[in-house]
Symmetry: C2
Subunit: 393 residues, 2 copies
């Protein structure tokens, strides 16, 4: 089976996370992704974990597989000239500089469009390409804070807390890929390229779900509520013998089963729990405590099996090791091996989107710094050496 | 300007959140999305907020704008026949039933492919279309728990806590849209359709970032760490006079500025804070406390302005109302108005992906139950009435 993006040339100027996560999809699904890093390599090459033997970064590794690696000093005249030559026949360019930086570097959309009129130019950034604070630097935590996510995450009685992994960066990268897919489809039909602009602040805001209409239609400002759902009960995370389980009992039929399973048939006669609305109103403290007591006597695996048999949505809170080793994650190839020239075996996340005819795949290892300079720029060994000495590569 | 998906016919069998979030993109960017709901309407029509006057749901509303609404009893012979007729010339079908359900309803990919060989068939579900636990019911919290997100979110000393909004559902919908875009591009080039399979469990797992390689390369199992980043310091959320701010000081140059701003030049002479690695090792408790003390004397807006001027990434923790009203969110049309026939003005989230040539737009209100039955199925008033009486619509 072929890959959907085979034959596409992508020039990848991205660093760190949101941009590289977007070009990872292009590479996984067959595009020729040429990653251009600053001389010496981009910042995430120093981010942990670092392989002791080779000095290579696992962070850089998982997100830059299936890409070719080049270096280029865009601030040098020669470097900029080589870059313009490279983008002449590119299909897609992806960058994630802070708003305003591409103009200063003379590689903004308007400039590149003059060289390659039908290019698809994708920009991922903290605050996007326009708007009053477009110029600001942004970390994932800043987008999570301003976008409203932090305030909605955590327990009522504690401070707001960020989503552990960098959700703003990741989801911005996925959104940017949606934009690239739309633009490729449009270009295939019309020949026309365009500029795509995705902002991490917008991205987080777009995930706030009904919290937004709760304010604009309902007039109240939702606040964080731990693991309890305001509209379904019981729906919570419970401590058990060896960890925690998440459990949701969505309707009366399931609650009937659930009451029997936990040996509390008397709940079904209790006016306080007669329907989902009543259960939501009266969940805390009695019903919650009673379920907590029951869970404390079982392991998470025992509870999972019991609820699976009853058809009640339930799952253990898994740590990273447990999730990696889960038979379902394994069966769906969500972990893949990749042979790296200096690290040896790398073992990291696979492809989420399962396509029946044009599946994604991890084929090549993340590149060493400048590994593909000669191939991509068509240089002899001597020419490469000279450009390195000039500070261009 | 036209829209990228103009002319595409999408049959939308989705309910609740992950599927509808995918078809929302198709509708926002111009496709003719025909949403098929069970007789009486789908479950999220009863999810809050509910407009008192009209009884319409704001939850259903924001995610189903730009779609046509039909009802159909797929368990009736006539209903199934009408459905097969409808998909004959569809470009895309999107569904988010639990694994195994489409087979029972006789609307699985293999069946539909016989009727429409080149259709793109997109499936979003909790556990995907294959793997040992594909049959299980799943809520967002279950995917967050099993995918490893819960265990990495929250403060060390507290229980694991879920991401407030339904991140598994939302991100699964965005990933599914990436798949639809890839499949449309492939079909445009080859004429061939395919099946897309996205699982919420995989989706959450794919967001764990370097936590995965920290285990497979570094051998340690990361645990939740509140708002502190293990590789940058200072990087945290601080209480101030009127709320909280998120603040990250990524390198020595910024730390130099920062120490001067907070009036603690002595930090720059302190061996414990001489570089980022040292600051990470020695951030807690002294440096953290000192910054906490400084922040307590300012409002979040004051801190934001000070850090903006210094170029230090910083943002206030905004609640939903504050985020909605933020000038940047407003300037980027991330909130849009929509006139609904019975609710009146609806005001909800706009389009994240800014496309220069084929932008998205909210044009039509979410449909009333069965609003487009006659138009879509080509029925007279009498025919519609008869089918309602038969229990087909």
């Amino acid at each position: 089976m072929g890959k959907v993006f085979e034959g596409l040339k992508v020039v990848d100027l991205t660093t760190a996370l949101n941009g590289p996560f977007c070009t990872m999809f292009l590479g996984d699904y067959g595009a020729d992704v040429i990653k251009i890093e600053p001389v010496g390599g981009e910042q995430s090459r120093s981010w942990g974990p670092i392989d002791e033997k080779s000095g290579e970064s696992g962070f850089y590794g998982f997100v830059n597989r299936n890409k070719k690696g080049c270096t280029l000093n865009l601030k040098s005249e020669k470097g900029l000239e080589m870059f313009y030559e490279l983008v002449k026949d590119a299909d897609v360019l992806v960058e994630n500089y802070r708003g305003g930086v591409t103009e200063r570097l003379k590689i903004d959309y308007d400039t590149i469009k003059k060289i390659n009129p039908n290019i698809i130019y994708a920009s991922g950034s903290g605050f996007g390409q326009y708007g009053p604070i477009t110029h600001r630097p942004c970390y994932d935590i800043v987008a999570q804070a301003m976008g409203g996510m932090l305030n909605l995450t955590g327990f009522k009685e504690n401070d707001p807390v960020k989503v552990g992994p960098s959700v703003a960066d990741h989801v911005a990268g996925i959104y940017l890929m949606v934009g690239v897919g739309m633009a490729l489809y449009h270009r295939e039909k019309t020949g026309e390229g365009q500029h795509i602009d995705v902002s991490m602040f917008d991205v987080i805001f777009s995930l706030l779900e009904n919290a937004i209409v709760n304010y604009t239609m309902g007039g109240f400002i939702p606040e964080r509520n731990g693991n309890v759902d305001p509209s379904i009960a019981p729906f919570d995370v419970y401590a058990c013998k060896d960890g925690f389980v998440a459990l949701g009992v969505g309707n009366d039929k399931l609650f009937n089963k659930f009451a029997n399973i936990i040996g509390h048939q008397e709940l079904l006669e209790d006016e306080r729990y007669k329907d989902n609305v009543s259960r939501c109103d009266n969940y805390i403290p009695d019903l919650q405590n009673l379920i907590r007591e029951w869970c404390a006597d079982y392991t998470k695996s025992e509870i999972e099996d019991i609820m699976d048999e009853a058809g009640i949505p339930c799952g253990p809170v898994l740590n990273v090791k447990e999730a990696i080793e889960h038979p379902h994650i394994q069966a769906r190839d969500m972990m893949v091996h990749c042979e790296h020239p200096t690290v040896g075996d790398m073992y990291f996340q696979g492809c989420v989107i399962k396509l029946s005819e044009t599946p994604g795949e991890v084929e090549t290892a993340p590149p060493l710094v400048g590994q593909h300079n000669r191939e991509v720029f068509g240089l002899s060994e001597e020419e490469e050496k000279a450009l390195i000495e000039e500070g261009v590569l």
